[in-house]
Amino acid sequence: MNTKINRIVLSLGVLVVLLIGYGCKPKGPATVTTGDAASKVYVAPGQYDEFYNIVSGGFNGQMAIYGIPSGRLFKILPVFSVFPESGYGYSEETKPMLNTSHGFVPWDDLHHIALSTTKGEHDGRWAFGNGNNTPRVARVDLTTFRTAEILEIPNSGGNHSSPFITENTEYLVAGTRFSVPMGENRDVPISSYKENFKGSISFIKVNPETGRMNIEFQLRTPGFNYDLSRAGKGPSHGWFFFSCYNTEQAYTLLEQNASRNDKDFIMAVNWKKAEEYLAQGKGKKEKAKYAHNVYDEKTHMATSTMLDEVTVLDVMEFPDIVYFIPCPKSPHGCDVDPSGEYIVGSGKLAALMPVFSFSKFQTAIQQKDYEGDFSGIPVIRYEAALHGEVKKPGLGPLHTEFDANGNAYTSFFVSSEIVKWNVKTLEILDRVPTYYSIGHLSVPGGPTAKPHGKYVIAYNKITKDRYLPTGPELTQSAQLYSIEGDKMQLLLDFPTTGEPHYAEAIPASLIRDKSVKIYPIEHNEHPYAAKGEKMARVERKGKEVHVYMTAIRSHLTPDNIEGIRVGDEVYFHVTNLEQDWDVPHGFAIKGATNAEILIMPGETQTLKWEPKEVGVIPFYCTDFCSALHQEMSGYARVSPANSNTPIKFSTGDTGGQK
């Protein structure tokens, strides 16, 4: 089978070479796969992929789960955005997940993924994601592939440098992209940026057992833009590194005004030092309003709690928490290699890439080898912290991932390529084009202490002619390259949903066997659960009508409901009585102004319905559950607002008719 494909691909490859050789330019997009590319990405029907690829959805506010090497899409996982397909953000249980200090916010811009680690290595427990617009972080449980928790970030103008994590998932960070006025006096002229605008970096503690997040402390930092970050590891564990741009402190036309300096900064944060100050009680409590939303798998519902305080350390008062390392020029990526010794700054407007040495940086601190200060914070002398520069690597370096063999892979937006180079020798080893304008890239385990290697995946911003056109808006394109040989090899293009920014890939073996199949019905603690058809009922409480409904192949109980009146608020609390893997039921009713709900086996979910007209209204199961799915339906009778029709409900009651 494989050899046959090899032969076909080989002969195709030969054909392409021949065509090029004869000077015939192939029409359409460039095709540069060669040799056995097809067999390397072919996952036979019924076979599993080797890696999960957990990909941010950017402006769709979701994550998407793909298989690598096949590029097959398995799941769209709603995080910060409502998802009518499952009822996320529409069901009464999930609405609180999207609550914020601004009220219900049904959308966000999810940029970065961070997978939990233990001792610097993937542990397959949680995936974290950031909300860039209304600053938030989310935790996804990798046993259910559901959003388990969302924490709003106060004192932030946009949560971009987030949610990068420390070696043992002690902390994840949330650095503000935009500096803003903070504290009591926020009504200030925009032109007072230098005096009044501040940065803020939140350190979010993660409970090692439950994964629960809380803002342990915030660092108040100088006012400029915080872009990306990475935690130290190994020898640099205890430190965090943030790329900063707009050290010019421009507040208008940043395109021009924030790119004037030849260097900006990488901000190095000694978070263990910050912990010491906190332990000494040096943190200041400040008022701040932010929402903390948690989904409970036993009650099958989310609760939103509004919190009102954060602990702040102003780095200007504690200058040994933070140091600046000069970095050319408007750095974007700030990536730490697997050994923890090297920190790669990707000055997106620079023609070279500096690689800093953690040990040299430590020596520079000891010797106070500073070139000055910024707002009282020491600025390390560039050369004192520098391991070396990658010269002329390409145009527009953005992000760097690593393999286990000392190599780095950097994406170049402007020159649309991935460049492989050696971290120690800084020698450029290989370069491959991407189609087109690559943003982030991902090597399985690439940000960890133990990369799994094998592939690098490019997430491109521009697709143009790579796929059949679909009007002005095109799918975003991912591309898979083998990095097993000395030279990178393009294997596959695959379309993605939303606009992927960062993604991580993790061996399937770390997640697959922990995947939840059903929710045990005996553990269902939903207050409106009907844990058996005998418990199905309809109750009126004033204007509210609560339907305790059950769903099992292939009927809903009750399926005849009377006594609902125009103007009522009807809550369909549907419990899926199935205890069988992959048998969800759905529920929808005509005229509902929200969505459907999908109910997993053993779960209860609630759809609110406000009937506006008199009539008999059908409802039905929306998920093709069984051979009698089309039969899985019922009727709700709606009487006039002033009627006396009594509440009545049944299933299978044919009034004695055979």
């Binding site: 036979a44 029907p45 019924g46 076979q47 599993y48 992929d49 080797e50 399937a508 199949k517 059903i518 099992i552 192949r553 292939s554 009927h555 199935e578 205890q579 069988d580 893997w581 048998v583 086996p601 559950c625 069984s626 051979a627 009698l628 039969e631 299978g652 055979k658």
Partner: protein, 182 residues
């Protein structure tokens, strides 16, 4: 209950494994096995696993395998299976079962087994005396229910009921024989 089922489940899986061993790759995923070979030790057992787990239904299970209906009945269904016990099969004239299990009798065997299966869940609570149900083979069975709730199907006594993930199994004391085709 769950533990009792593990052994037959393993047998089932082992059975599926034999077919796929030669083609299974390093990732260990299934390839080409039917729905009955899905590895799932968490879900409630389906009608097939209920039958496999019962010492009184070995003949029925043998027949289901001979008729190639193990995968079909592992489907989402839902099914109502009238499951004759081993003793029920023994009541048939000598040699009947052996004859049906022969490859050349497969269609006849399938017809008989189809006559024991209704697509849909029959809940005895809603059964009224004399109700008829059209079975998979398109012939009707008649359910009778006495005042004390005892149920029969075509005169065979219902001895017990086991709920399954994809339907319900009614254990009966006689094999249901479909009417002769006209």
């Amino acid at each position: 209950m769950k533990y009792l089922l593990i052994i037959p489940l393993m047998l089932l899986l082992a059975c599926g494994q034999q077919q796929t061993d030669s083609t299974t790759e390093a990732t260990g995923a299934p390839l080409g096995g039917g729905q009955s070979t899905v590895k799932d030790e968490t879900s409630e057992p389906d009608v097939v696993r209920v039958a496999v787990g019962s010492a009184d239904h070995t003949t029925l299970v043998t027949a289901l395998k001979a008729a190639s209906y193990v995968d079909a009945l592992s489907n989402a269904g839902p099914f109502t299976v009238f499951a004759p016990t081993n003793a029920a099969f023994e009541k048939l004239p000598a040699g009947t079962v052996e004859g049906l299990l022969k490859p050349e009798s497969k269609e006849a065997l399938q017809n008989i087994l189809e006559y024991h299966v209704y697509v849909g869940v029959i809940n005895e609570e809603f059964v009224r005396d004399g109700m008829t149900f059209n079975q998979v083979n398109l012939d009707n069975v008649t359910l009778n229910k006495s005042d004390d709730g005892k149920m029969t199907v075509n005169g065979a006594n219902v001895l017990g009921k086991v709920k399954a993930s994809n339907g319900v199994v009614y254990v009966i004391d006689a094999v249901l024989l479909p009417p002769d085709k006209k």
